[in-house]
Subunit: 382 residues, 2 copies
């Protein structure tokens, strides 16, 4: 078992890892290169459920400047029964106005034709640079190519076709108690809050009744707990599709474990990240207070550089907590901080802060802030 690599993920016993190129039974996928990315790398992906009436759910960014494909998918799809999803990388189709909206709609229509599905059963997603129109000739060619390339071993090409600044694909195919689940995700920056900035696609042959609340709960405990730079994307999209072919339910905790491991891989692959920190805040007066303090610590550039520098600096943790509670009174000393792991050699480090104000707690996973973050983002251009 190599997928569940983090000490912070609890997977159900007896999970078997399959070739990640294989999708869950009854699903096909493809990833092709159509020229949106100048590098010639894979940049257009498609995933399709063979079954005409799958159960699905989708969650999107709450960013007010949401991208055209997010708006279109929210408004023009039957999100509870998606068969196909078409994705491009290299261009976010965000802040692109009426033409961007038309292009997203065209991509949906072409995707529906390529999938053999009704338009409202096909969602669209994009990721990449903001504020530039999609090169539609390339996208048209890509959608047609991807439709022809759909295969039940297309998981790896699909996972590669959705990447931007990621160092590599994040995906898995797992079997447990007669049920298969496959998942592909991308994301390496602009992560936080709501649920993390990312694209993620999950397919399963399990029987799922209430897909939307199930997905939302699992997202709150996984993608909703990670941050790289405190930035929220215009394009976050998360899809779960199920065809029920196995006749069996998902084991409790399996979806959460898959999503948390993927979320942690996004943090680890956060732009330039070298370590990942779990920030645990306890003894807060309310859940909201615990949450806001944990996020303030996790997103503090001073804490993130201390994680990078292996500097067990409790003062910065207290300062960030005090900022989150500005106007109040938090007279705590450095004995309220647990930061021993910060100064050590570990890759996964835990930071703790006891507020001494009540019984609520919250945690967030964060990357560190490194020279490579600056390098990537000062040089990644329109």
């Amino acid at each position: 078992m190599s997928f569940f690599a983090s000490r912070w993920v609890e997977a159900p016993d007896g999970v078997e890892e399959l070739d990640a190129a294989m999708l869950a039974p009854g699903f096909k996928a493809a990833g092709v290169a159509c020229g949106v990315k100048r590098s010639g790398a894979l940049d257009l992906g498609m995933v399709r459920c063979d079954e005409p009436k799958p159960v699905s759910a989708a969650l999107f960014t709450s960013n007010a400047a949401a991208a055209a494909p997010v708006r279109l998918s929210r408004e023009r799809c039957d999100l509870g029964s998606l068969r196909g999803i078409v994705v491009n990388s290299g261009n976010a189709n965000a802040a692109t106005g009426g033409l961007g909206r038309d292009n997203a709609a065209w991509m949906q229509g072409a995707g529906a034709a390529a999938c053999g599905a009704a338009v409202e059963h096909v969602a669209v997603a994009s990721t990449g640079v903001i504020g530039v129109q999609l090169p539609m000739d390339a996208v048209k060619r890509g959608v047609a190519d991807a439709g022809r390339a759909l295969t039940d071993t297309g998981g790896l090409d699909f996972a590669r076709s959705i990447l931007t600044t990621d160092n590599g694909p994040k995906q898995c195919t797992l079997r447990h108690d007669g049920v298969t689940i496959s998942a592909q995700a991308k994301g390496a920056g602009m992560m936080q809050p709501g649920f993390a900035t990312l694209l993620a696609f999950i397919q399963t042959d399990a029987v799922i009744a209430d897909a939307e609340p199930l997905l939302r709960r699992a997202a709150d405990a996984s993608f909703g707990r990670v941050t790289v730079d405190g930035q929220q994307s215009t394009n976050d999209s998360l899809f779960l599709q199920s065809n029920g072919a196995s006749g069996r339910p998902l084991a409790g905790g399996l979806l959460e474990a898959v999503m948390l491991q993927l979320a942690l891989e996004l943090v680890v692959d956060g732009e330039g990240a070298s370590r990942v920190a779990k920030v645990q805040v306890s003894e807060a007066a309310s859940g909201e207070e615990a949450e806001s303090v944990a996020r303030a610590i996790a997103n503090s550039q001073l804490v993130q550089t201390a994680v990078f520098g292996r500097d067990a600096n409790p003062g910065r943790i207290i300062q960030a907590a005090g900022m989150a509670l500005a106007g109040g009174d938090l007279p705590i000393g450095i004995d309220a901080v647990e930061a021993d792991e910060l100064g050590g050699d570990g890759f996964e480090v835990e930071l703790g802060l006891r507020l001494g104000r009540g019984e609520h707690s919250a945690h967030v996973y964060a990357s560190d802030l490194t020279y490579d973050y600056i390098k990537l983002n000062a040089e990644y251009t329109t």
Copy 2:
């Protein structure tokens, strides 16, 4: 005139620049080295008004984990009539519990003796590492030495004695229409919000009636408008003292100009900063909306690295604005962004965003995010 270097500062006509070592008439200052800083640099400062009943005002951080000297000065001083202020650098005396409080009180008492003033007329301030107790033997020696060293040309030593990671002192002595104003500030990180993270001291022989509202208004337009890393300090303190000796009022706009220029110098000297950006948000539905969007853009790591990289990347500006308005709808295109100066060679650059939602506007000044920020903060240790 070399002090008013920024194109964004409007100083009254006819301001004359004096030797910055000279304080306003009737004030004395000193800066000595007592050993709080291991480097042997100046680390204990004192400023004193000769006049026994000056008019003064002070503003402090709203951080809930405020440092001991901030709490003590707020609670145990007659802030409307401060004669003396004692400051140490190299140690913040924050998150230091009951012993830290006692040490701040002792510093106040010793400062009062050295100044020849009643205890409640002497404030204390500290800046430096959080969570470490002050070395009181060193501080005792320093307070006594500083008291003996007080002189009307001590402005430069005083300005140097309050520095931490600053590249150099920020100060001025100006004369206008028969009135003199001198000021000294420090700050190069943990700047934002409320008013910026800093220590600043202003002395004048002008006649000032309502010092506190005057100082608050000027702070809102200057130190309250700058950010380096979105972090709020535990130790922010801002003091204005006036002895009225000139018999004349301050010219309108002079205090604001002095404080804005000092605030911009803090941004320019922000840890590792290479450029300073003025973020202007217009056409917002409310003043609060304009403010929150401007701060979201100014504090975005993605925008700050784009400023560093001279990358005119309008998408990141729209993304940050959309995040500030999460849950709402902001369907704007990149034509709403003015980012031309970003890609140029200028040191002071202006960024603009029109929200198209109303008539309110706000601006914030921000540093960029550079390799040197990481270097300074990953290596600056307890």
